[in-house]
């Protein structure tokens, strides 16, 4: 039994297809994210689930029941809006009580419920405060409390951290995950920030131009991307363009453009000899060391970027491309200008047919 299922949901605005045949199933109590670049149709999909847009095709089911014919105020999915949309004319308590009153809950029960949900989000006793008196993070939690007090089947969150500053965003990431655990409610979280999606989610769908490219756990997306788009969008990667020179088993040898050298990578799609491909290699898969027999990538150290555990060495390859190499040890033994050879295991590099554009 899935809390939320979308079955080939499509939305067209005139000729433009914003959401194209999207299917997903979200098991009860999980944290599901939709990750995609700006304008790929994430908000449109969420608005269809909430009932503010009517799909042009497909079906949406909540707890197994189709909700297409239900008005937005009859669906048991609640939404945290990008700018939160807390009601400025009501204080915190009234904001949270609003949904309970709409549902016709007994007047006497409401204050206790409001008090309990405020305790659960860690803000006890703020009922009387005005919305303007709250900090950004507090508003965030009130917006979640306002939805959670109604015990929805699914909570939709549309880039709720977008309006916060970086520091608070890092903090709220962890907090959101904890809240989801605590409420044991299904969260559908939309973001264009891959680190948010990777850190918080049980499963992530990567969306591009209205379609889902891949659905999987964060680890699957990171280690086994199914397309160049996913490989490039999730996590950092060096993208090396070249032509397939040779295929042996599930490995390809690629001649890099501009005389950058020849590298071995895992063959990930049907690219044949002579096809243009892109090879994706994560910075942490790269080592500075000896050249392998069949493949080598040499260059000179361009600069050392210090960023604690995320430190990088920038290497300028023979074709002038800058390649990022992880440098967690921050060894410091290299100086800019030194000639180095880069190696990586072929199975940790992936060759995909080159994307348009």
């Amino acid at each position: 039994m899935y809390d939320l299922s979308c079955d080939r949901v499509t939305k067209a605005f005139g000729k433009f297809v914003a959401v194209d045949q999207v299917s997903l199933d979200i098991p009860s109590g999980s944290f599901f994210s939709i990750l995609g670049p700006s304008g790929c149709g994430k908000t449109t999909l969420m608005r269809m689930i909430a009932g503010f847009e009517t799909p042009s095709g497909g079906d949406i089911r909540i707890k197994g029941e189709s909700v297409l014919s239900l008005a937005p105020n009859r669906r048991n999915v609640k939404m945290v809006f990008q700018h939160l949309a807390l009601f400025p004319m009501m204080n915190v308590g009234e904001n949270i009580a609003y949904g309970l009153q709409c549902r016709g809950e007994k007047k006497a029960d409401i204050p206790a419920k409001v008090r309990r949900v405020l305790e659960r989000v860690g803000l006890p006793g703020v009922e009387e405060k005005q919305i303007g008196q709250l900090s950004g993070g507090q508003k965030q939690r009130i917006a979640i409390a306002r939805c959670m007090v109604l015990e929805p089947d699914v909570l939709l969150l549309d880039e709720p951290l977008g309006a916060l500053d970086l520091k608070l965003r890092e903090h709220m990431k962890i907090e959101l995950k904890q809240l989801q655990h605590q409420f044991e409610t299904t969260f559908l979280y939309i973001t264009h920030d891959q680190s948010e999606a990777l850190v918080m989610s049980d499963r992530v769908a990567v969306m591009n131009a209205g379609r889902f490219e891949q659905i999987g756990t964060p680890r699957e997306l990171y280690d086994d991307p199914v397309s160049g788009f996913v490989a490039g969008f999730v996590g950092d990667a060096n993208i090396l363009a070249g032509k397939v020179a040779e295929i042996s088993g599930d490995e390809v040898l690629v001649n890099l453009d501009g005389g950058g050298g020849r590298i071995a990578a895992r063959r990930s799609d049907a690219s044949a000899v002579g096809d243009e491909v892109e090879v994706f290699v994560r910075p942490e898969a790269m080592r500075i060391g000896e050249a392998a027999a069949r493949a080598s990538l040499t260059g000179t150290v361009d600069s050392l970027l210090f960023n604690g555990a995320n430190s990088r060495i920038l290497v300028r390859a023979l074709n002038d491309q800058l390649i990022e190499v992880a440098d967690p040890g921050q060894s410091g033994s290299l100086a800019p200008g030194a000639t180095v050879t880069l190696t990586f295991e072929a199975r940790r590099a992936r060759a995909f047919a080159r994307r348009q554009g």
Binding site: A50, F52, N73, V77, M79, A85, L86, F87, C102, R146
Partner: protein
Amino acid sequence: MGREAGKLSLILLMTPFLLWIGLLIILPQLGIGYVSLREKISYDEFSFGLKNYVDFISEPVYRNTLFRTAWMSILVTILALIVGFPVAYYIAKIARQKSRAALFLMCLIPLWVSDLVRAYGWIVLLRETGVFSSTLVWLGIINTPIEMLYNDITVVMGLVYTVVLFMIVPLTSTLQGMDDALLEAGYNLGGSRFTVFRRIIVPYAMPGIVSGCIITFMLTAGSYLTPVLLGGKNSSWFTEQIYNQFITRYNWEAGATFGVTLLVFTSFVVWLGLKLTGQSLATTVAKD
């Protein structure tokens, strides 16, 4: 130096405003107030006292005209709110961005024609030999021409038409500031259309409603041309009394008394309205 410059620019900015307020509003009002306290003893001989006000209160015709004017103005204000709100909501929230400016301009068109011409326009339409009446006769709906002028309904209608714009403008600008997400959140949390209207739209629009109502009420109560032209002799509008005292009877003392009374009474009605609806100027009109 910064503070000196700040002070100077404050003075420069405030001077025209203070001159305007002082010379054109406060001073004439003081003059009117002064005249209203004069009691004529004989030619060019005056004493001071409240006799004019006592006269006003003890004369039921004047009193009733004032109350009638206030009631009708309240009615006009309410009707203007009922008519203006959907229009403002449409312009601010439903119309597409492109057509918004055009719609707004269309609301302003009546203002391009003077009050007087507009009132005569109504007369052309509504009089016994006017367009409406003759059309109805021609269509055979009525047998004899009817007079549609000179009754309260026409006066109220004409007044609503004249002032509704001053309701629409503040309402539109307040509603334009409302994020659509607030409405969607209202529905998402289970609210019906009525709940969303009552608990979200109306409270949000309250500053606009209050300022629109105050402007409309004051304009209506102080209007002269529309009630006199459309209502004729029966209109019994209070401003007509003031005109009569000043111009027809040349009784400036009584005219000034009426003027002050109108100002005080309408201000009192506004104050009462704010009290009864639990609003205050500070939290609505002056908000943000």
